[in-house]
Symmetry: C2
Subunit: 327 residues, 2 copies
């Protein structure tokens, strides 16, 4: 994994991925006590940076392999990113989801042209066995959500853009807070900034109770969360950092930041009112860190990623009911 | 009023106004039955295109006039656009608002550095008399919300961007639906497109019961709405088109489109889920026209402006409760 791979992914993504804006608001600066810049990946196709990784991975396959199609396990943003990339490139796509996944996520993934195969999670059906059968029968390639060099390279293009957009604003040094699940986006951005903005340092942000990356960075080895990966910030709940992503984060990242669910809901309301952007709870974590954990942040400027691929209407209403009165 | 004035405003706005993106979603295309491109002015500073007009007007004043400050009557987006422009240019700004204006709008306008003077609307206090007194005493210049050539020129820069961004996507012909109150944005965009995208035609979109522009275009003379300017789409409720804006619209615009409040709420939910953007009811009107009045629209592509400067949390929750289930 190196910067050339990220630059190569950027070339393949050109004209496909959106260059999302780097936005700000004086109201957010006031809360944070410093300048806050927000990398708005909610405006990416499918609403999240996952499309970058999906497109990078699908487009990196040799054409004779790609033609047979791609496969992913996901009920969320990764599913939609891979599905859209596959449709754009004209190759078949199977997404394996639990049958109790939200109706809207299933419908959205199907609407993007994927064949959705549901499995009985509660009944103990193994998605891995199902996926292995499809790989063998159809010769499809599995696209992992984060622990894949091409996926990391695709997510890393976000970092190339951050470096260039911040420089255009005169910003060269900053802490860059990244919403972190398995570490694909975090490690990709960290490598991109190492090359293009070496005065910036990246920090993963996770929700309370799912701070495996923060704990891994502290202990120096891969740590895991306990219990089921269920919680408000579902988009970024993973059991542990990846085998490929962790060493990169260990080499390049500053200590992790941990935020509460309430801080994420409040941040959703602030992004709604002050940025006019729709963010999902997990996609609000980094900005929540920037706004409410400033005591642990250094410097005049903080940059945070946001995203919002699959926002539940009830959760959004809760955020507005509780925190929508910004006055 | 001519295209040179719009181009001059664009030069003055450069590096200040954001070039907002022209976005789309396959889900919206499917609803509309054609390609839909959305000019996302909710991402403009203060959340609406009004900043463009405010900045254009304030920056057009001779410096000895500008130094004495500017004045506006508004409880909404125009207030915030003028306030921010004045603050950026370092000149005093007075905004006159009714004392029953929403707390958040008053707070936001003050936070942007304006001196807010409240008047007793119910008690019959005249805002015009109040404004006249301030003009005389302090020598401030009144910035009108739409019937001012520099304001129209500022809003018209939106049209220059639409022409360039659509051309970059290979789109040269389209109907361009514009959320229309007094006609500043509509007439400005129409003039910009006459010059830079002559195969596009502009159509004003208004809410039911406030279709003064549609009726004026039909009758060939300025028509008015009856009753108080109160309704869901408060951002675009005006009594009649302006003396300057109407002749421009009459010369350049195709017939108006009229949408219902329910269509605007539904569009807010769709922009939330499919574009990840926060739009206010009046700022959703044009997109509602594009999505739900396709029978009256010609061609393969429709372009709609959206904006969202002052979105009420309760109204937004209503939109999500009623229409947030997009499946």
């Amino acid at each position: 994994m190196n910067i050339d791979r990220i630059r190569a992914a950027a070339v393949r993504l050109e004209g496909h991925a959106r260059q999302t804006p780097l936005l700000g608001s004086p109201f957010l600066d006031e809360i944070a006590g410093r300048r806050v810049l927000v990398k708005a990946e909610c405006l990416q196709h499918t609403g999240s940076f996952k499309y970058r990784g999906g497109r990078a991975a699908v487009s990196a396959l040799p054409s004779e392999v790609r033609t047979r199609g791609v496969l992913a396990f996901s009920s969320g943003n990764h599913a939609q990113g891979v599905a859209l990339a596959a449709r754009e490139m004209g190759v078949p796509c199977v997404i394996i989801m639990p049958e109790d996944a939200p109706t809207l996520k299933i419908a959205n993934t199907r609407a993007l042209g994927a064949e959705v195969i549901l499995y009985d999670r509660a009944g103990g059906e193994s998605r891995e066995a199902l996926g292995e059968a499809i790989r063998t029968e159809r010769g499809m390639t599995l696209i992992k959500p984060y622990d894949d060099p091409e996926v990391i390279a695709g997510q890393g293009t976000t970092g190339l853009e951050i470096a260039a957009q911040a420089a255009a604003l005169g910003v060269r040094a900053a802490e860059v807070l990244v919403c972190c699940g398995g570490g694909g986006l975090t490690s990709g951005i960290a490598m991109a900034l190492e090359a293009d903005a070496p005065q910036m340092r990246v920090r993963p942000v996770e929700p309370e109770g799912f701070d495996d990356v923060a704990r891994s960075l502290k202990s120096g080895q891969i740590e895991s969360n306990h219990g089921p990966a269920k919680g408000l910030c579902d988009a970024i709940l993973t059991q542990s950092p990846g085998e490929i992503t962790f060493p990169i984060m260990q080499r390049l990242c500053a200590p992790g930041v941990v935020v509460s669910d309430d801080e994420c809901l409040r941040t959703m309301a602030l992004a709604w009112g002050r940025l006019k952007l729709v963010v999902e709870p997990g996609g609000a974590a980094a900005l929540a860190g920037a706004l409410f954990h400033g005591g642990h942040i250094e410097g005049d400027t903080v940059i945070a990623t946001i995203s919002g691929g699959n926002v539940d209407a009830d959760v959004f209403q809760t955020a507005l009911r509780r925190f929508g009165d910004l006055a």
